[in-house]
Structure formats: C-alpha cells, structure tokens
Symmetry: C2
C-alpha cells in the first residue's frame, strides 16, 4: 500500500526517535481534545494504547477522524501533521502492546498492571500528511 507519509519524515515514526504524538480528537460535544501520546508505527497504521473508559477510548471507539502532530525531539521546527481515521480497536494483546510501547520510550517492559484497568489498542490509518521543516 502507498503511504501518505513522505519518506523524508518516516524517521519521526521510528522506535529509535521516541517522538511523542499529540493526538487530537473531537469530543461528543464537538469540542477538541489533545493529549501527548506514546505510539508505534507498523508501516501502515499508527498504534495507540489507552485504557477502557477514558475519554480517548469513548471517542475513538466510534472509529472517527483523528489528527496527530509529531515533532522531531531534536528539532521542534521539523514536524509531521497527520490526518487519519481509527480503523480498529481491540483489547486482545493490549497489555503486551503497552509494554512494547514502554520499551520503546523507557527501555523496559515493566508497565504497571493497575487493578481494574483494561488496556485497549487503537489503530489509525493515515489518510493525509503535511510536513514542516
């Protein structure tokens, strides 16, 4: 599949870069919300992980349009803006997935198991991208 992410900015999605994504959603009231998030990229979709019941979960479960901004940690004037759509959500493998994200960002897989917390994987397919820098 072709990707809307320009080759020259693919490094911002790599595990080595450890960039955060500012994930923007539209709430049920039609208002924006934005959160700095860990993410991973499998070459096709951007992978997020949240906990069941949070606002992000409640919004993304409807498979809506989302937007991301990903700044280069080494140069804030170089960034990617991505628009995409949530294409799937699953609890299956979601604890392992948050441990993998923790390994990317923190170097170990010891994500705490919080009592009563159910993790969820969300996948976002990029539909368009713009770049700066």
């Amino acid at each position: 599949m072709s990707s809307p992410i320009p080759e020259a900015f693919r490094d911002l999605l790599s595990r080595e870069t450890k960039a955060f994504a500012a994930l923007a959603l539209v709430t049920g009231k039609g208002e924006p919300q934005v959160t700095p998030m860990w993410f991973d990229f499998d070459g096709e979709v951007i992978i997020f992980n949240t906990a069941r019941g949070r606002l992000k979960d409640r919004v993304m479960k409807k498979l809506p349009a989302v937007a991301l901004a990903i700044q280069d940690p080494a140069n804030p004037y170089r960034y990617l803006q991505i628009r995409g759509r949530v294409v799937s959500e699953t609890e299956e493998g979601a604890y392992e997935s948050i441990c993998s994200l923790r390994e990317k960002y923190r170097g170990d897989r010891n994500y705490p198991r919080n009592p009563g917390e159910v993790r969820v994987i969300y996948k976002v397919r990029p539909e368009s991208a713009t770049t700066m820098g």
Copy 2:
C-alpha cells in the same frame, strides 16, 4: 481573576521555558486538526499568532472552543492540558507580536515580513486544565 492553571505548572507557560503548545481545533467538517505553535501568556490569556487565511485563522475567527497540550521540554511526562475559548482576534500589533514570540523562542525579533501575509493575534482564555506528572 482566578485561573484554572495550577501554580505548580505555571512555569510551562513562561517565556523562559520556551515550551510549544499543540493547538487542537475542530474544522468546519467537524474533524480535528492539531499544530505545534508558539504562544505567550499574559497571566490571563494565551496568545497565538497566525496568518490571515490559514485554516487556524478561519476556524478561530468564529471564537470556538480550542484545546492545548503543553509538554515540559525537559520532561515529556510532565504536561498541561488546557481547554479554553478564543476570546478575541485582531490584526492590530500582530506583526510586533510575532516578533515578540520569535524573541521568546529564537532570541531575536527578526520575523520575516512575507509579501501579502497579514498576521493575526488570537487570544484564548483557559477555562479548565488538567495536569500530568
């Protein structure tokens, strides 16, 4: 006036910290958009500067609800999420204002004068804030 920004996170709004704000808006189509932005804070309102005619200008001119995420440049796990409302827009003094923002972030006031570009100041009043870290 009381502010919803907790005292312990005010440093993220200071000129010394040079943090960026991820500014999230809802487009006319009801979809989210998010952009890393320079900003300033006068103790009451958050000050942005964009160019007339851009998507951000077209959306914010309607004085809508917006959302911001501001990460500590020294610790990405420490951040502020702010929800607020655009309370004013003006072209008056807007070139001087973008020069002041450039001074905050780059150390000089030499913001280029781009032919045909009209700068606009937008002010956002924070209505609520959540903190992490």
